[in-house]
């Protein structure tokens, strides 16, 4: 065995990964090769020096917590679907939908501000057009009916409001008349009362003056 062949095997022996057969061959070589023996001892010593560097504790205290995923991420997580597969699924679904619509002879039309959609096994552009025209006439008729109905409703509403206003004015007028009549009665009664009181007082004073006058006359006649 040559020295160059030994070099790699020395690694196996140094780190105790060589089988018995290899160990025997290398030992046999080293008995007669001072260079390889010295090299092995030197490598062993280097390894021993390296072993003087001891492990240390990192003191890192890393703790992982579950992140709050967005809705789509959670969905992907739950069904274990990759974004590529999700996209592929959507594309496939869209293609299937188009195929179904094509098989059903679907027609989607836009005509004068209105969409129309038609399904049918047999294609018929004329019937679709007729349906569209009928729809248009029906729509116009409905619009006219709506306008009439709205006009009638507005008219009725105005009439109802006018009646309510007249009724309210009449009620107010009646109330006003009642209050006025009541007030006039009160004033009349009060005037009568005042008149009676004045008359009574005047009568009393007149009587008193007459009595005074009689007494004076009687006194004068007595003196005579």
């Amino acid at each position: 065995m040559k020295c160059d062949d030994i070099k790699i095997l020395l690694m196996d022996i140094l780190y105790e990964e060589a089988d018995e057969k290899v160990i025997a061959r290398v030992k046999d070589h080293m008995k007669s090769c001072d260079g390889c023996r010295a090299e092995f001892e030197a490598l062993k010593e280097t390894s021993a020096v390296l072993q003087k560097w001891e492990d240390v504790d990192p003191d890192m205290n890393m703790v992982f917590v579950r992140e709050q995923n967005a809705f789509w991420s959670n969905l992907r997580e739950r069904f274990r679907i990759s974004p590529a597969r999700l996209g592929y699924g959507f594309a496939l679904g869209a293609a299937a939908l188009f195929l179904m619509l094509a098989l059903a002879n679907t027609e989607i039309r836009y005509d004068q501000g209105s969409f129309s959609m038609r399904f049918g096994i047999m294609k018929s552009n004329d019937s679709a057009k007729t349906v569209s025209t009928m729809d248009q006439a029906l729509l116009t008729s409905l619009q006219e009916q709506n306008m009439q109905l709205m006009s009638r409703m507005i008219e009725q509403s105005e009439q109802r409001q006018r009646q309510q206003l007249i009724s309210a004015l009449n009620q107010f007028s009646n109330n006003y008349q009642d209050v006025r009549s009541s007030d006039l009665k009160t004033v009349g009664t009060s005037l009568d009362e005042i008149e009676r009181e004045l008359y009574r007082r005047l009568e009393k004073r007149t009587n008193e003056q007459y009595n005074d006058l009689i007494r004076q006359i009687n006194f004068q006649e007595g003196n005579r």
């Binding site: 070099k7 790699i8 020395l10 690694m11 196996d12 780190y15 990964e17 030197a42 490598l43 010593e45 280097t46 390894s47 021993a48 020096v49 390296l50 072993q51 003087k52 560097w53 001891e54 492990d55 240390v56 504790d57 990192p58 890192m60 890393m62 703790v63 992982f64 917590v65 579950r66």
Partner: protein, 197 residues
């Protein structure tokens, strides 16, 4: 519970299983990174990045029993990236650094200094080994760290690195020889260490 079981539980929605993996692996990965980069803070960053990458990509691991190789692969790639970035910012070589710091206590190549082993302690020795590892090529360094400190078999290292077993052994051999030369230049050997430590 082995790594594969924990991964399965994690994939079934148990986040604590991943945390168990983190607690189990943070020490080996951190120590791997420290020995590769020679910097504790960068090693912490790399270890964290490795776990975050693992957390995000664990679903893509086809064979959970290969988690060990997979996580070492992630960590060693991150270490390589970090080392490249370090080199861009710090292009000064080890030898040049030693020339610039003649009074440095670890400058064992300087014959004017007293015997380096005379006042050597554990921290100083680790610093020397760190510098020695930094002085050898990256590919050899990875293999040496994986073998010497992580205790991986040559076959496992080969699988992690995607290389043949013979390539790995060859890198180990040349790496050890390179380190031996550095240690000899610094007059470090097992006999001196046994006497001093």
């Amino acid at each position: 519970m082995n790594d594969a079981d924990l991964i399965k539980k994690y994939l079934d929605g148990d986040i604590n299983s991943f945390n168990t993996l983190v607690w189990r692996w943070e020490k080996p990965l951190y120590n791997f990174s420290v020995r590769f980069l020679g910097d504790t803070e960068l090693a912490k960053d790399v270890t964290q990045k490795a776990f975050i990458k693992a957390y995000k990509n664990l679903k893509g691991l086809k064979d959970p029993s290969k988690f060990s190789s997979w996580i070492y692969q992630i960590t060693s790639n991150l270490c390589k990236d970090e080392f490249k970035s370090m080199k861009r910012h710090q292009s000064i070589s080890l030898e040049l650094m030693m020339e610039n710091h003649k009074d440095h206590r670890f400058d064992l190549a300087d014959s004017s200094l007293p015997d380096p082993s005379a006042d050597m302690n554990q921290i100083e020795l680790e610093e020397l080994i760190k510098r020695a590892l930094q002085s050898i090529p990256v590919e050899q360094r990875i293999v040496i760290i994986m073998k010497e400190y992580q205790g991986l078999k040559f076959a496992e290292i080969a699988e992690t690195l995607g290389e043949s077993i013979n390539t790995v052994k060859s890198r180990m051999y040349y790496g050890l020889n390179a380190l031996r030369k550095v240690f000899n230049r610094w007059n470090i050997n097992e006999e001196v260490l046994q006497y001093e430590m």
